[in-house]
């Protein structure tokens, strides 16, 4: 289950050590070790008031809403610097929303060039339920420098998505739930709901096991060499989780259409709708 490549043999590693690289998912044990060794910046993306009550030790607060307000490459670098995160500082992000908010923030950090970013394998609730340590301090760290090095390979915008339809090697994935997808979606998209790759009810990890996700996407005709673009309903949270699920399953080229279906609709782009069945009436919600 160890999905982590962190090398902790060197007791004196600091954040400039290249070996100190996180994988996609950071296990509880690894995070606790890193916290003890003061080798990590933990980022809590829940609401500020939740953070103020308690959080994982040493965590700084970055509510998703705050990030979305400054969601330009320069704005995000500002945020990184103000949280005391320098270029190589291992950064682990958590939320209490089955990993989707954390995923969006992690993707954003990686987009501006902070590659050494990971998702905590569990939510805060699960951390608490395990009886693990928390603190109530409002943690701040000295402002640092962070360079801007945009990773265009992991981002897709509307014009890029619009071209996908003509390119069979590119696969567009809608991460919303099935009924929303059936109602309307971007033409040509395949539906892999976040509930399929996340483990909402199996709280031992925010994502399913890599071999399971691999099997699921293989059934859908997606291989490690496919190019996949994920999107969801509004700001790229659910699709952020799917982004990391696909990465975990070994898909090399994944992009996030972070502005997602909300922007697509506001631009008046074409949609596929399915009106021949009253599927909503099957829901007991």
């Amino acid at each position: 289950m160890c999905r982590l490549k962190v090398k902790l043999e060197d007791k004196n590693v600091d954040d400039s050590n290249n070996d100190n690289l996180l994988s996609i998912i950071c296990t509880i044990d690894t995070l606790r070790t890193l916290i003890k060794k003061k080798l990590v910046r933990v980022v809590d993306v829940r609401k500020a008031e939740d953070y103020q009550q308690e959080h994982i030790p040493t965590a700084v607060s970055l509510p998703l809403a705050v990030l979305l307000e400054k969601d330009t490459p320069e704005g995000v670098v500002d945020i990184l610097e103000s949280l005391g995160i320098s270029d190589k500082m291992p950064t682990v992000i958590y939320d209490d929303t089955f990993g989707a908010l954390a995923a969006r923030v992690a993707w954003t950090f990686q987009y501006v060039g902070h590659t050494n970013t990971a998702l905590l394998e569990v939510t805060f609730s699960h951390w608490k339920n395990l009886g693990l340590e928390t603190d109530k301090n409002i943690n701040t760290f000295p402002k640092t420098q962070h360079s801007l090095n945009i990773n265009y390979d992991i981002h897709a915008d509307a014009p890029y998505v619009e071209m996908v339809k003509e390119q069979p090697n590119k696969i567009l994935v809608d991460s919303r739930e099935r009924l929303n997808f059936l109602t309307e979606h971007i033409p040509g998209a395949k539906n892999i709901p976040y509930t399929m790759v996340g483990s909402i009810n199996n709280s031992s990890s925010i994502l399913r096991k890599p071999e399971e996700i691999k099997r699921f996407i293989y059934n859908r005709g997606i291989t490690s060499d496919s190019e996949v673009i994920t999107y969801c309903g509004s700001v790229g949270t659910l699709s952020g989780l799917t982004y990391y699920a696909l990465k975990l399953a070994g898909v090399k080229n994944v992009k996030l259409y972070s502005k997602s279906f909300r922007e697509w609709k506001s631009l008046g782009k074409p949609k596929e709708e399915f009106k021949d069945a009253n599927y909503w009436d099957l829901s007991a919600e």
Partner: protein
């Protein structure tokens, strides 16, 4: 000989045994082979017809006008399901379906709108808890039903559950029924009221004669575009002839059933065309051949004692007489709890134990509700299982009296404590245009609307209405079992000028009891007028009824032409309802030209059905 038949036994049973639902219906390899077949089909290496047949044999229907999606039908043989299985279905519905599961009218649980490529994963997950979709569709022996009261019914001769499961085990994957002319349905009852025995290819009521266990077996019944009530094979079929009788019937159907005409290939047509006397003789003759020629090793595969049993612990509580019709319910501070007790809880034949019904809306339940229900079952049902019912609800049995209140609270915490499960308010609705290719109307939503309205009006608390039922199908094919309802409806379309309106044909006086009859078609009603029409019928009934007559009795009387007062016959009631059922031109009432659940103009779009594929 008839007089010796007994269906009554002591209501205070000792040493009660019940089975633990631990049988593994699934085979892991079927999930892999399904995934492979989907690949082959997508690559064009498997023809559409071959793939469809394979897909149906493995329990996946095509969805309404969208063949990339499937309805996955999970068989629940005898309707018995464990908390672990409910939890698995919850997880699968969230991961691969719409986050809700659907209880069918034949004790299946269905997951709708599953991507065809994901069906194998649903099957894999189901196999982890022993469940299968194998032969849930297709031309084979479908889910074997058993009355949800079997084992707890005060009127039953013995518990038929183990027999139902043994029959299901014997026929599933059995080469003799992999390519029947058409689907084949077997229903076990408990007493002469429950279990839908007269509307199955084989229907069985347990009886004891001269101390020996056996069954009254009905053959050739079934609902559909043309429906028939089953015929009694013989006064008493001893249990040692259960298997041979079933095998003989299936063999005859396989040999003589109509493979040419899809619309007339159920066994009931064969029986009808051949004549019952002839068919009956053939079954009895075939049975003696089966008995002589069946290898001992084959017969051994029919094993009634295959499952572990557990003994029921004695309850330490004294029972207060509870919720039966017209009896005073023990008072509590909560009127909603009291109402629920009255309409959702019945005493069992076991002293101190109750069966609790969970009211669903047309059989739908969310993943979260399933999980909470599973936990509640674990904590409060001594047999630790649920049974799904043909009324699309769930029955939780062996709940102790002292636990009822907490049980209610737990259900209420997730919106599962609606009253009315055992009343007219619990309307049945097939999936209709929510997912079915054949559907013309949104019967599913209409059933939910009926339930909502009736609970609002308090119809569930009116004991005069209690034994009446409302059942709705979205087309004439009877998945909603409209022909066995007190007031039944099946969907269609009516054209006025150039405009099409969704309408229902209303039927009166159906019943699935042993002495029951099929409903009689009365008149067409616009979909959006169905609720008003039923309410008007109830009003007329209240004015016209004689003292103790229930709605059901009153309706049956009218159907027989034996009504009194102003409502003597069907013609009288038709006249009285004309103003409700009249369909004005679209300009006058555009709302009547739209079905429930949509704001677009109604059109009667359907695609090829797969029932007969």
């Amino acid at each position: 000989m008839k007089n010796k038949t007994s269906t009554n036994i002591s209501s205070k049973q000792k040493n009660v045994l019940f089975s633990k639902s631990n049988y593994k219906w699934s085979r892991e390899e079927e999930s892999d082979s399904f995934a492979q077949k989907v690949k082959l089909f997508r690559q064009g290496k498997l023809s559409e017809d071959d793939f469809r047949r394979f897909r149906l044999q493995h329990g996946a229907y095509g969805s309404r006008l969208q063949m990339n999606y499937s309805m996955v039908r999970i068989k629940i043989p005898s309707g018995e399901i464990s908390p672990e299985q409910l939890e698995k279905i919850a997880n699968l519905s969230e991961a691969f379906s719409i986050g809700s599961a659907h209880v069918s009218t034949r004790q299946n649980i269905q997951l709708h709108w599953v991507q065809l490529e994901d069906v194998s994963e649903v099957m894999r997950g189901l196999a982890e808890v022993g469940l299968t979709t194998r032969e849930a569709c297709g031309n084979t022996v479908r889910n074997v039903m058993c009355s949800h009261f079997a084992g707890v019914c005060p009127e039953e001769a013995f518990d038929a559950t183990a027999y139902a499961k043994a029959i299901a085990r014997f026929f599933i994957r059995n080469p003799m029924c992999q390519n029947l002319p058409r689907k084949f349905k077997i229903n076990f009852g408990c007493c002469n009221k429950h279990g839908l025995v007269r509307i199955a290819d084989i229907g069985l009521i347990p009886v004891i004669m001269d101390g020996e266990r056996g069954f009254k077996i009905y053959l050739g019944g079934g609902l559909g575009a043309a429906s028939f009530i089953g015929h009694l094979l013989e006064d008493f079929t001893p249990e040692n002839k259960l298997l041979s009788t079933s095998m003989a019937t299936i063999r005859l159907f396989d040999r003589h059933g109509n493979r040419e005409n899809m619309a007339r290939n159920r066994m009931r047509y064969l029986v009808h065309e051949m004549g019952w006397d002839k068919f009956q003789k053939m079954v009895l003759k075939e049975r003696s051949i089966v008995q002589m020629t069946t290898a001992a090793s084959t017969a051994k595969l029919f094993d009634i004692g295959a499952e572990e049993t557990e003994q029921l612990p004695k309850t330490e509580h004294t029972m207060v007489k509870l919720p039966i019709l017209k009896e005073q319910v023990t008072t509590t501070e909560s009127p909603s709890y009291e109402r629920w007790l009255h309409t959702n809880v019945v005493p069992q034949k076991h002293w101190g134990y109750f069966t609790v019904f969970v009211t669903l809306g047309a059989g739908d339940i969310t993943a979260n509700q399933l999980r909470v229900l599973a936990g509640t079952i674990r904590d409060f049902s001594v047999e630790s299982a649920a049974r799904n019912t043909p009324q699309q609800n769930l029955a939780i049995r062996f709940v102790k009296e002292n636990d009822l209140n907490e049980f209610y609270n737990r259900l209420a915490s997730v919106g599962l404590a609606n009253p009315g499960a055992l009343t007219i308010a619990s309307a049945v609705g097939c999936s209709g245009t929510t997912s079915c290719n054949l559907a013309i109307t949104n019967s599913h939503r209409l059933a939910k609307e009926v339930q909502h309205k009736f609970l609002e009006l308090g119809f569930d608390t009116d004991d005069d209405l209690r034994d009446s039922t409302i059942k709705i199908s979205g087309c004439p094919n009877s998945c909603g079992q409209h022909e066995i309802a007190t007031i039944g409806f099946f969907g269609g379309a009516s054209r006025i000028g150039t405009a099409m309106a969704p309408t229902y044909t209303m039927l009166f006086g159906g019943s699935a009891e042993e002495q029951g009859e099929l409903g009689k078609a009365i008149m067409r009603v616009p979909a959006k007028r169905v609720i008003d029409t039923i309410c008007r019928i109830v009003e007329i009934y209240k004015q016209e009824k004689s003292n103790t007559e229930t709605l059901k009795q009153w309706i049956n009387k009218i159907v027989r032409g034996e009504g009194t007062g102003n409502m003597k016959s069907i013609e009288n009631i038709k006249t009285a309802l004309t103003s409700f059922t009249h369909l004005p031109p679209v300009e006058q009432e555009p709302e009547l030209y739209r079905d429930y659940g949509t704001d677009i103009k109604f059109n009667a779009k359907t695609a090829r059905g797969e029932c007969a594929a």
